[in-house]
């Protein structure tokens, strides 16, 4: 029996490679065909689409990591994650436009940032009242207060501070809305998540403004970048380099955290079996809070990158919805609950949205598919769920009786 299945496995090992190579072949053929009918679709056109796809895919991957981590641990689709992303963008925006802040405001913001920072120190020391954590918190509080009250923050400082702010927001959401519902029916938790998302959307309207906001921190990276591709010049911005770089750094840091630290090990144990992990002495509530903290921090990083990429952020009521739901689709495509799956799914979705539209551009005889690209994520997700619910690289999540 086992021999049969193993030979079957060995027989089909070439199948993914064949599909991948076939797809690449088709894409290359399509590119040459397009070039042959219109020289505007040259190497630079496709290289531009490629780098933009990778950039957008990295953003989706960052957001998708938050969804996939939370789903892996407590089996909850955290609808509010897209709104956490929105809050991250607005926090960063206010941090780099309104600084230097008045002292009382600076103290309040610094308190929030410090709390997030102490949570991070907590990963290492394991207790919020540990002397080192308290000392680090005090130091951070003084530094952040002085920094906020005296200088204008650059994009990196604003991003880091906004990551801490949203991290605290994520932990608060978990504590206030989700923790009282542990063990409740999953539909109740999902409805609560929708309510939190709706709350944050309208809180955004109330507290921020309900209009598009320009998002242009002074930075070298938003400047133009041009290089030669096959004799044609490609005009783009340095963001196509920065976004994948930031994503790579954060993903590597997250992977190191999950694989190399005690809390990361506890996280993996909780994802496998929360009950048993609790019996083995894992503080499951702390693990869940950590998950929300990390996921929300990644969302804020993605939000700042998003704003810098597109130069503006949308109205708070709708800014988080589409990126959020698309990133969730990316997590499902990659295989929900798996970290590499979220990254693969995100990048794949980026290519689906940008490169596929470049492969079917507007020509004289064809209207193009750019208008439909917002629906690709949904279609891909529904197809993946119907064909292979565990995703591309996912554990089998089929429900047992």
């Amino acid at each position: 029996m086992s021999a049969i299945s193993s030979t079957a496995k060995r027989k089909r090992a070439w199948l993914p490679w064949a599909i991948g190579l076939g797809l690449v072949g088709l894409i290359v053929w399509r590119m040459f065909y397009l070039y042959s009918i219109n020289p505007a679709f040259n190497g630079a056109f496709f290289a531009g689409a490629f780098v933009r796809s990778f950039q957008l895919g990295s953003l989706y991957a960052l957001i998708a990591l938050g969804y996939t981590m939370v789903y892996g641990i407590i089996r909850l689709i955290n609808f509010a994650h897209g709104e956490v992303f929105m809050v991250g963008a607005f926090a960063a925006y206010f941090l780099f436009t309104l600084t230097p802040l008045a002292l009382p405001v600076a103290i309040i913001v610094a308190l929030i940032v410090t709390y997030g920072f102490m949570q991070i120190l907590n990963f290492w020391r394991g207790s919020m009242t540990d002397p080192l954590v308290l000392a680090g918190g005090a130091l951070a509080f003084i530094t952040v207060t002085i920094a906020l009250a005296s200088t204008t923050l650059g994009w990196l400082a604003a991003m880091v501070a906004s990551m801490f702010v949203t991290g605290v927001l994520g932990v608060t959401i978990d504590r206030v809305a989700y923790r009282p519902l542990r063990g409740a029916p999953r539909n109740s938790m999902l409805i609560t998540a929708i309510a939190v998302s709706f709350f944050l959307q309208n809180f955004g309207i109330l507290a921020f403004s309900n209009r598009q906001t320009p998002f242009r921190p002074p930075s070298f990276w938003t400047g133009p970048l041009q290089f030669e591709v096959l004799g044609e010049t490609l005009f783009t911005s340095w963001m196509v380099v920065l976004v994948p770089m930031v994503t790579a750094v954060l993903v590597v840091a997250l992977t190191l955290f999950v694989t190399r630290t005690r809390l990361g090990k506890a996280m993996r144990a909780t994802a496998q079996d929360a009950e048993t992990a609790r019996m083995m002495g894992v503080n499951v509530d702390r693990v869940i809070a950590t998950t929300f903290l990390l996921g929300s921090m990644l969302a804020a990083a993605a939000a700042v990158m998003w704003g810098m990429t597109f130069g503006s952020i949308n109205q708070p009521a709708i800014f988080g919805i589409l990126p959020g739901i698309k990133a969730f689709a990316a997590a499902v495509i990659g295989g929900i609950g798996s970290l590499p799956g979220a990254v693969v799914g995100g990048v794949l979705l980026g290519f689906l949205e940008n490169f596929l539209t470049a492969l079917f551009p507007r020509t004289q005889s064809f209207a193009g598919i750019t208008e439909y690209k917002d629906t690709f994520a949904f279609v891909a997700m529904i197809l993946i769920l119907l064909v292979r619910p565990s995703g591309i690289i996912g554990e089998d999540l089929s429900e047992k009786v």
């Binding site: 089996r75 206030v176 009282p180 609560t192 739901i325 529904i382």
Partner: protein, 493 residues
């Protein structure tokens, strides 16, 4: 406000093991006080009619619009309740079904003048074919000229709403198919994706020749959506169908799927058929509600069909009680009330007032958390969940009361979005504190109103229970229970 329903048969007759129910003097509760209940139902319906008459004769006031909106959203809520509450599938794509019903209805009854405007407009992307789509034209083509006159607009509206509902039901079947393979939150997210995809597709060039893109079309006759008679008439049809369905064999199959899908399948329920059926019926009424909603507003626009609609219906169901039609209507009344009379929440107040209000909310949260923790005997009773809101709340109240001199707190701030925030907080609180909602799964009945205990066992049943649960008693009574039964029987009859 809800259209009162007659007492519906619910629950099986009590178990009478040895005697038939009639012999034991037992009457099922729906036979108790039957004439009184019928009279009360008629009186209730008459009362509703009188209220509607007064609302209608007040003529174009806000009250009329609120009543009509309640009925329209009530149809949608009751239909969402069929999928979410009765079948137990969390469906989040209801705004998509309403969009289909709304656009189809709007396009089919659009008056000729509005069509001429649209075809003359340079910005319109409606195709000539779409502009020609009208029930009026069809009636002329069929030779039914008396149905194409302005006096018989109501008949055309009915036809258009029916076709809109059917189109929505078609999409409901399409959305229902993933439910055969997916469960739980995966299915919820797929229905959500469908709902959003319908809206996104409606603005693409493919569908813009029918939907006019993001502009939509104005000039839909609003005399139906704003009339309480039309809306409440359709609402009563929807409630009647849903109530009959709930207690039919189909409804019981759907409730079986909610409780345990595998067990239901093992008992012979064709789960695939029933789930798709639930989606189709629910989508049909959502389409009808969408048609009325477009008529209520007077235009068909894409921003009428955002996710907030489904969210409001979800709030209504959750507050009222998931699975209860009465509860869905109570919840709708609350949601419509907050939405239509919540303007004071969204006005401009000085910041100190807002801070004071925030402080009061935080103090309330602290109090509730304290009570809950004490009730659950959690230790320490004053955990961070109590102390955090308490400290922040006291600070906020202090600033609100005594900080009125601070210039920073004297600026005024407009509370955009406060109504939605209120509803969201309400939903979170309901989910945490009382997940079953106000009504639970119960329905309104007169017996419930008069606090008649329908499940109170008769003396005979009490005796049998004691007999069954007490082995010693069972042994001692084993010989003489026949004559005791006879005595009891004689006494009861």
């Amino acid at each position: 406000m809800s259209a009162s329903k007659g007492p519906a048969p619910q629950g099986a007759p009590a178990k009478a093991a040895t005697l038939s129910p009639a012999e034991a003097g037992y009457k099922p509760h729906y036979l108790l006080n039957r004439s009184r209940n019928t009279l009360l139902t008629l009186a209730g319906l008459a009362l509703v009619a009188v209220i509607l008459f007064f609302v209608d004769s007040s003529g174009g006031t806000k009250m009329q619009q609120v009543f009509a909106l309640f009925a329209i959203w009530g149809i949608a809520t009751v239909s969402l309740n069929l999928v979410n509450g009765v079948t137990g599938i969390l469906s989040l794509g209801h705004h998509g079904f309403m969009l289909i019903g709304g656009y189809v209805t709007g396009l089919l009854i659009l008056p000729q003048a509005a069509r001429d405007n649209l075809s003359a407009s340079a910005r319109s992307s409606l195709s000539d074919f779409a502009i020609g789509l009208s029930v009026e034209n069809w009636m002329r083509a069929l030779g039914l000229d008396f149905l194409a006159t302005p006096e018989t607009l109501w008949a055309r509206f009915l036809i258009a709403v029916f076709i809109g509902g059917l189109m929505a039901a078609l999409f409901g079947i399409v959305v229902g198919f993933p439910s055969l393979r997916l469960r739980g939150d995966y299915l919820a997210i797929v229905t959500f994706a469908f709902g959003e995809a319908i809206r996104l597709l409606a603005s693409t060039p493919m569908m813009a020749s029918f939907t006019n893109g993001a502009l939509g079309f104005a000039g839909v006759p609003s005399e139906f959506g704003k009339s309480v008679w039309w809306t409440f008439g359709l609402l009563s049809i929807a409630v009647f169908v849903m109530a009959r369905l709930k207690y039919s064999s189909y409804g019981r199959a759907l409730q079986g799927i909610r409780e345990d899908e595998i067990a239901a399948e093992a008992m012979g329920v064709h789960t695939a058929y029933h789930k798709v059926l639930a989606f189709a019926i629910s989508a049909f009424f959502a389409g009808v509600a969408g048609g009325l909603w477009v008529s209520w507003v007077g235009t068909a626009r894409l921003d009428l069909f955002l996710f907030f609609l489904t969210f409001y219906f979800l709030v209504a169901i959750s507050v009222g009680g998931t699975g209860s039609i009465t509860g869905a209507l109570i919840g709708t009344a609350l949601v419509v009330w907050v939405r239509q009379y919540g303007d004071p929440l969204e006005q401009s107040y000085p910041l100190s007032t807002w801070v004071l209000a925030l402080g009061c909310v935080l103090l309330a949260v602290a109090l509730i958390a304290f009570l809950v923790r004490r009730h659950k005997r959690l230790k320490p009773v004053t955990g961070p969940v109590v102390l955090g809101p308490l400290v922040l709340g006291v600070l906020a109240v202090g600033f609100g009361l005594f900080g009125t001199e601070m210039t920073a707190l004297q600026q005024s701030w407009q509370g955009f979005g406060m109504r939605a925030i209120t509803l969201a907080i309400l939903l979170i609180a309901i989910m945490i504190l009382r997940p079953a909602g106000v009504m639970g799964r119960k329905e309104f009945s007169w017996a419930m109103l008069f606090r008649e205990r329908l499940d109170e066992p008769t003396d005979e049943e009490r005796r049998q229970d004691a007999w069954l649960s007490n082995a010693a008693l069972a042994a001692s009574l084993a010989g003489d229970d026949e004559e005791e039964d006879a005595d009891e029987n004689g006494g009861a009859v």
